[in-house]
Symmetry: C3
């Protein structure tokens, strides 16, 4: 099985998602499709890039990811597929795939999608999810040869990067995503803490509010805040049974620091 | 494969959609179900009819569409299935299927769903998606004979129609749907423009605002409006990387005209 | 087929649901997954327990239900699976499974999920849907022996109960759920009415507003309220083609009485 996993900004109220799935299943009636999210804010390439980064490792090694946030649809931006290890990534070349690719640790092969025999015919100027990306994913999931998708491209567009500053006293990152429960996922990973002196760690938000870094929500009392390395491997700012983003008015981009004792 | 494609006003917060899918899979455990949308506003028959019109052609030729917006559930309205070409359409006979059927170009055979052996037992008075429409779709997807669903019915209820007025100087249509990105889909199709003199076309909204008709969003600058024949084959009013419905305060029903030079 | 049916408070905007499905499909690539709802308000155990109660009977006899509303994830609450008849129920032991289990009419076997070989490795402290519940559901759907999931547990945590008071003149229940259409589902079932004198029944809301109990929405005029035994087998307060919750400002917990003549 090569499941096809979808991230888009299509929402679920319009017919777009259904039409794209119809396009996939028209090519491969046995395709297994997994929805990651379709609630990326319209045109928010960075939000989709971060989401793909957060969940990529949760998927089978053979997964074909399709990420479509494509405000430049119909323009000259290229459509690409990337092979890293045994996973594939398909989408517009606008940065939506960049963060996840960088983290795979595998070399990447990039192909521009130019094999028009794989596409829907005719191709619209406004809906390449249905006309190009979906059909190509369907063909790949049936074993179509990656190197026949189109010519090699050497680099991909880098979207917004996520950054972490490390020194011997502290590590500074940013909030890169906020989930439904108000947990604020930062760019800080365990590896960034290597230079800090061993001992008790604190997370600092808003430049002054200091929270303990714990290993379980219940390490603090109900309603109390904490830092915790969450399920995607990044430090998160949370409140035990509460909504940290709302209580502390945290937003994407806000700085979070980790300090040793 | 005969996929089953669903449009309803059930939303996704309640258990209705899951229960209807359970009913389908109870009949045909191997059914392939594609969600088109479940966010039709409660009781908005016309919105569902238009959505089915916009996406029908995107689906495989063997698709079984089930469209349930059914404010009259439990009343005397009949439940029907329609065969046109190789596609099937199932739903209440209240107009929800009418626009799509009219456009297929195939003759239609209409059957009233009266073969109670196919239904869930007992049948509730309030949830025919689970008790009638879902199970019937499940049986059809397993190859159950269409002509054994129930007696022939000669006509179906026509819901709201969509109209276009054509003369030699202009074509006037209406906004029939607005998508998540603020694109305003009108009732105007390329065929309606045949009588206009060749040359540059303009779309006129609000009776005076004049937009160029283009073939790609990027034919205008970012933030600029345009008319464009969209992915469903209808003229749309859009803004390149913007939200036309919001900026111009456009609503379903608003008039859009196309004028030649 | 043993379908896996999911109720969570994950929402659909984050990647959580996709990651949990990926975990299920990693174990059993052929699993059939049915979404019941992921829009349970964050942490609202009771809402999920009621939803499972309302829809359980709609699902195939072999269904594996997974209900995850888990504000105590990572704490000492146990993770359990319950076998009743041929259905399985998986979730945290916090009451989310309790209402549905009580109604099955079958004896239940409860197992604590402690067979760590079935889990994802490593296990996060914050996302047991991906790391424990999903994989266990995947294994069960492939025929893994229920009695090898972990040790027997004798009782489960009872969450909020739903109650009905019955006397010879009236039956008093509560609103336990409100659906998208504004129908207010109460705790009252047909069996509770046995002691009432035969004859015409009325539903009383807000302590005084009296509505006829009917068998179809269309038994009252459009826009008029009624009581009706709905598709889940419970008395509902509705308005024919209207929204009863909004018009009467009804909320979960509000008392509804049924009175005889």
């Amino acid at each position: 099985m090569q499941p096809i996993a979808l991230i888009t900004d299509f929402g679920i109220a319009d017919h777009f998602l259904g039409s794209m799935k119809a396009a996939i299943l028209s090519v491969n009636p046995k395709a297994t499709i997994i929805d990651i999210s379709h609630e990326i804010p319209p045109g928010d390439i960075n939000a989709a890039a971060v989401m793909l980064l957060l969940c990529r490792k949760d998927f089978p090694a053979s997964t074909i990811f399709v990420a479509i946030v494509d405000p430049g649809v119909g323009s000259s931006r290229s459509a690409i597929a990337i092979k890293t290890g045994t996973q594939f990534f398909i989408g517009p070349d606008n940065g939506v795939l960049a963060l996840a690719i960088k983290k795979t640790g595998f070399p990447s092969e990039i192909r521009r999608l130019e094999n028009t025999r794989l596409f829907r015919n005719p191709i619209s100027a406004t809906f390449h999810g249905r006309d190009i990306f979906g059909p190509v994913a369907g063909h790949l999931s049936k074993g179509f040869a990656f190197n026949k998708l189109g010519p090699v491209q050497n680099t991909i567009t880098q979207g917004a990067s996520i950054s972490v500053k490390v020194d011997s006293r502290k590590v500074a990152g940013n909030i890169i995503a906020i989930d439904r429960f108000g947990n604020c996922i930062t760019s800080i990973e365990p590896v960034h803490l290597n230079k800090l002196k061993a001992g008790k760690l604190s997370a600092v938000i808003k430049g002054r509010k200091r929270l303990p870094v714990c290993s379980s929500y219940d390490d603090v009392l109900e309603g109390k805040p904490l830092g915790i390395f969450g399920s995607a491997g990044f430090l998160e700012i949370s409140i035990n049974r509460g909504n940290a983003a709302r209580i502390f008015r945290l937003n994407r981009g806000d700085i979070v620091e980790i300090q040793g004792e």
